[in-house]
């Protein structure tokens, strides 16, 4: 919870839920359009010298035990960020449920105090978006190929055919170890090739943990994520980035999940806590 949120829980008579920060230099801050916020609240932009916070007025923070309610809030939060991005360009995202107490005056004070930093970040991310790339691998085609072509595996298999029970057990262990070694090498090579493929078009790349607690029902159980990258790239290079991934995806057993454009969630700092975001 941010300091702003802690304060908001204690006393929140005039809160401002902040979706993101945008560059209002070349677009009037009134141009937020018809987008409606969480719980159908009116969305507007509070701007100080070309830097605007996209907000709605609120009297509480958003916390619920109802998972469907939280889902609706999240989806609406992202919808607002998407809508204002269409108008103002790449935003600086804020964490879900970032609420300022003290009304517009507290918010404008914060915008004024952090203005140099916000301006630098907005300029730095202008025209760039985050893309997510996940490489999922089904090892079965690779294993079928390697068991048919690897000399060591074939030799171990041949020896098993003539060995006694005890020796066969040891040979099987050696066989499994060799296969696991080849599998690990292949995983490592695929991950390296993926990084090399995105590097030419990326402004920044962040490697992410593949052991997420989030569920993934989109691929078979045989597919395991072996690399997850967050890629910051210019919008103009989106097609080039997708093309770079095609070569990797064409390999046996490989599925690439490519999503974006997203606001730079991974790369933008967490402005309220002044810490880099982590994915």
């Amino acid at each position: 919870m941010t300091p702003a949120q802690s304060q908001a829980r204690a006393q929140l008579s005039d809160g401002r839920y902040v979706y993101c920060v945008v560059d209002t230099t070349s677009v009037p801050s009134a141009s937020v359009g018809e987008t409606t916020g969480i719980d159908d609240e009116t969305v507007r932009v509070v701007s100080v010298d070309g830097v605007g916070a996209v907000v709605h007025d609120c009297t509480s923070v958003y916390d619920a035990d109802d998972i469907d309610q939280v889902k609706r809030w999240l989806v609406t939060h992202q919808q607002v960020v998407d809508d204002v991005s269409d108008v103002f360009g790449t935003p600086l995202p804020m964490r879900f449920d970032t609420v300022f107490a003290g009304g517009d005056s507290a918010l404008t004070d914060w915008l004024a105090d952090t203005h140099p930093r916000l301006r630098t970040e907005l300029d730095g991310f202008a025209g760039c978006w985050e893309y997510r790339v996940t490489l999922l691998w089904d090892p079965q085609p690779f294993e079928a190929h390697v068991t048919a072509t690897d000399d060591t595996l074939q030799a171990l298999e041949a020896r098993q055919a003539e060995a006694d029970a005890g020796t066969t057990f040891l040979l099987e262990k050696q066989y499994d170890a060799r296969l696991a070694e080849r599998r690990r090498a292949r995983r490592s090579a695929l991950a390296s090739d993926l990084s090399a493929a995105v590097e030419p078009v990326a402004t920044q790349v962040a490697s992410q943990d593949t052991t997420t607690s989030l569920r993934d029902e989109s691929v078979s159980e045989r597919h395991t994520p072996i690399a997850r990258l967050a890629v910051l790239a210019p919008e103009t290079d989106e097609s080039a980035l997708g093309s770079q991934l095609d070569d990797i995806a064409a390999r046996d057993g490989v599925t690439i999940r490519f999503t974006g454009p997203w606001p730079p969630y991974t790369f933008a700092p967490d402005i309220c806590t002044d810490e880099p975001n982590q994915a």
Partner: protein
């Protein structure tokens, strides 16, 4: 309860991870939600479900469906599976 767990217990987990995963789930859940709406209707019609429970469940499922469809709309041009 992955959203609550990951968003509030693990506050550094980014919103995009959660949205992405919700989209992956919801893409496959939409037909299931529709089936549940039909089931609720049938149970009510044959008298196995009282009116108040039917209405409560109907509203709940319709809200779920709207969310699922909203997520699908958001992700439609944003997700590509390459293989």
């Amino acid at each position: 309860m992955f959203v609550l767990d990951d968003l509030f217990v693990n506050p550094f987990l980014s919103l995009v991870d959660i949205l992405q995963t919700m989209a992956l789930d919801e893409l496959y859940d939409t037909s299931e939600i529709r089936d549940q709406i039909k089931e609720n209707q049938l149970l009510y019609e044959i008298g196995d479900r009282p009116a108040d429970e039917y209405e409560r469940r109907k509203q709940e499922l319709e809200a779920q469906l709207r969310t699922a469809e909203q997520i699908r709309d958001q992700m439609r041009d944003r997700m590509e599976i390459k293989n």
